[in-house]
């Protein structure tokens, strides 16, 4: 139980860090495209600032939002896995992807159709974010499988 909670926490933190990485990179890449003098130092500084600000000073703490999404998705997956026999790593990967995609797609409904996660405005952005959700879910599922084997 304790190990599962720890793995769940790591999965949420991983997703949060990756989503913030995508948000940072989408802004930074555009700034480079308009000849702004972006250096590696500026990129790293921006990323670490975003890690703090998007969790502690934004409109919604991102990690809390992702935690809610993952908890719901993982809970549903756990129930489904009682009847459906599929690899846990794939099932939770799908759950993680679905959770992030749902957050990106549903957030505009709460904010007058506006994309609060700017990195998720384009189809490419949504795809990358969903992939990061998939990775985080896969990590969680893989850890569960390892536990069961041990």
């Amino acid at each position: 139980m304790l190990i599962n909670s720890f793995n769940l926490f790591i999965s949420i933190v991983l997703a949060t860090c990756l989503v913030i990485l995508q948000e940072t990179m989408s802004n930074i890449f555009w700034l480079i495209s308009v000849d702004m003098p972006v250096s590696l130092g500026i990129f790293l500084n921006t990323y670490f600032n975003n890690l703090y600000a998007m969790n502690l000073s934004g409109a919604i703490p991102l990690i809390a939002l992702i935690a809610i999404g993952f908890l719901i998705a993982y809970f549903v997956t756990k129930i489904i896995l009682i009847w459906v026999k599929v690899s846990k790593s794939y099932a939770y990967a799908f759950a993680g992807a679905a959770a992030i995609l749902a957050i990106v797609l549903l957030m505009p409904f709460a904010f007058y159709n506006l994309d609060i996660l700017a990195g998720g405005r384009s189809v490419l952005g949504k795809t990358i974010l969903t992939f990061f959700g998939l990775l985080s879910g896969y990590y969680f599922g893989k850890k569960l499988e390892k536990q069961e084997m041990a």
């Binding site: 940072t24 500084n45 975003n50 000073s57 934004g58 409109a59 159709n113 994309d115 700017a118 405005r121």
Partner: protein
């Protein structure tokens, strides 16, 4: 002893604040208004104003006419969209022409855009309604329209066009109307000295670019002042000039609502700096120049209405610098627009579904 001095000081300060408040009082012109947005003063007792939900209203001899003016085009009343900016023609007394900016739904599509019409005001309706500008391309969002207007001394019309929120990067490109100040003639044609008229792939109506959501614009002695909402922080007051780039979103003093850094840069060569910026945001809405005699100590000030927390900022200007800022009318809530009348009173529109039109007079 120290406590006594402290109490004395507090009493003295409160007396000072109180004496400043006694300068003016409020008179309610109209109430229970549906999101009053833009004000156009005709004379001391007559004015037109828009309600975001789509009504154009007339105050005549100081009294609100019960029926809205007919003939207003269909508007998209959603999010921040609706019937928005209004301005009288410089020759209004002769030709009765007015100009209205609003969010207009694209027929049969889920998109909309900023549109500007000219029309002639008759007794209780608009006549000769003509579209003189439509921002391109259309948008899916109902936010950041800009939709304020001002006349330059040469009679051309400036229209503020916001970045549409989701399209902020396009404010840096000249092939669209997002995040721009537009300059057109009153018949919708393009002035032949517009800065990007002959530039390839540029929209010829563009006068300046790199703006976010411009909610106030006024021209004083040929100088164009405009204010715009920043994101979280970074609201700006700019002196706008033709062909200039105001930097959004490549440079900004604000952060995204998610908390993310939009840009780590606040300045760059070739991009203009604001003459004043606000962090945290005040959400500047309307803007007017006070040139009246009723409040002589305010003469020559720029009045910027603000939605957060809700007040009017009186800015003292010295050339291109803001030397002083005073907070006025902070007991009325969110203020959507501010205007002045020829006799020196100030008209305020409070924001929301139960908005008011308020006249500020001397006590």
């Amino acid at each position: 002893m120290i406590r006594k001095i402290y109490i004395f000081l507090l009493a003295f300060i409160s007396l000072f604040i109180h004496s400043k408040e006694q300068n003016y009082s409020y008179e309610t012109i109209a109430e229970n208004l549906s999101h009053p947005w833009g004000i156009a003063v005709i004379d001391e007792n007559d004015l037109l104003f828009t309600e975001l939900s789509g009504q154009l209203r007339l105050v005549e001899d100081g009294l609100l006419k019960p029926e809205p003016i007919k003939g207003v085009p269909e508007v998209l009343f959603a999010g921040q969209g609706g019937l928005s900016g209004i301005i009288l023609d410089p020759d209004f007394n002769l030709n009765k022409k007015i100009y209205i900016a609003f969010s207009s739904p694209d027929k049969g599509k889920s998109t909309n855009t900023l549109e500007v019409i000219s029309a002639k005001l008759s007794a209780d309706s608009l006549e000769e309604v003509k579209t003189i500008f439509k921002a391109s391309p259309s948008r899916r969002t109902a936010a950041h329209y800009g939709a304020r207007m001002a006349f330059l001394d040469d009679g051309t019309l400036l229209v503020t066009s916001g970045d549409g929120f989701n399209y902020r990067e396009r404010a840096q490109y000249l092939d669209n109307h997002y995040g721009k100040i537009i300059r057109i003639n009153t018949d919708g044609s393009i002035p032949d000295d517009n800065p990007f008229l002959n530039k390839e792939n540029a929209k010829p109506e563009i006068w300046s670019y790199g703006h976010r959501n411009l909610q106030g614009i006024t021209v004083i002695n040929g100088i164009v002042y405009e204010n715009e909402h920043g994101p979280m922080g970074g609201d700006e007051l700019n002196i706008a000039e033709p062909s200039k780039n105001y930097g959004w979103p490549a440079i900004t003093y604000g952060k995204d609502y998610s908390g993310a850094t939009i840009s780590p840069f606040t300045e760059k060569e070739g991009m203009e700096q604001p003459i004043k910026y606000w962090v945290p945001s005040i959400a500047p809405s309307g803007m007017a120049f006070y040139d009246g005699n009723l409040f002589p100590e305010w003469k020559g000030s720029l009045l910027v209405s603000a939605l957060v927390p809700g007040d009017v900022r009186r800015l003292t200007l010295n050339g291109s610098k803001v030397t002083e800022e005073e907070i006025l009318f902070s007991d009325l809530g969110r203020i959507r627009d501010v205007a002045t009348t020829p006799d020196g009173t100030i008209i305020l529109a409070t924001d929301g579904p139960n908005g008011k039109l308020i006249r500020v007079v001397t006590k």
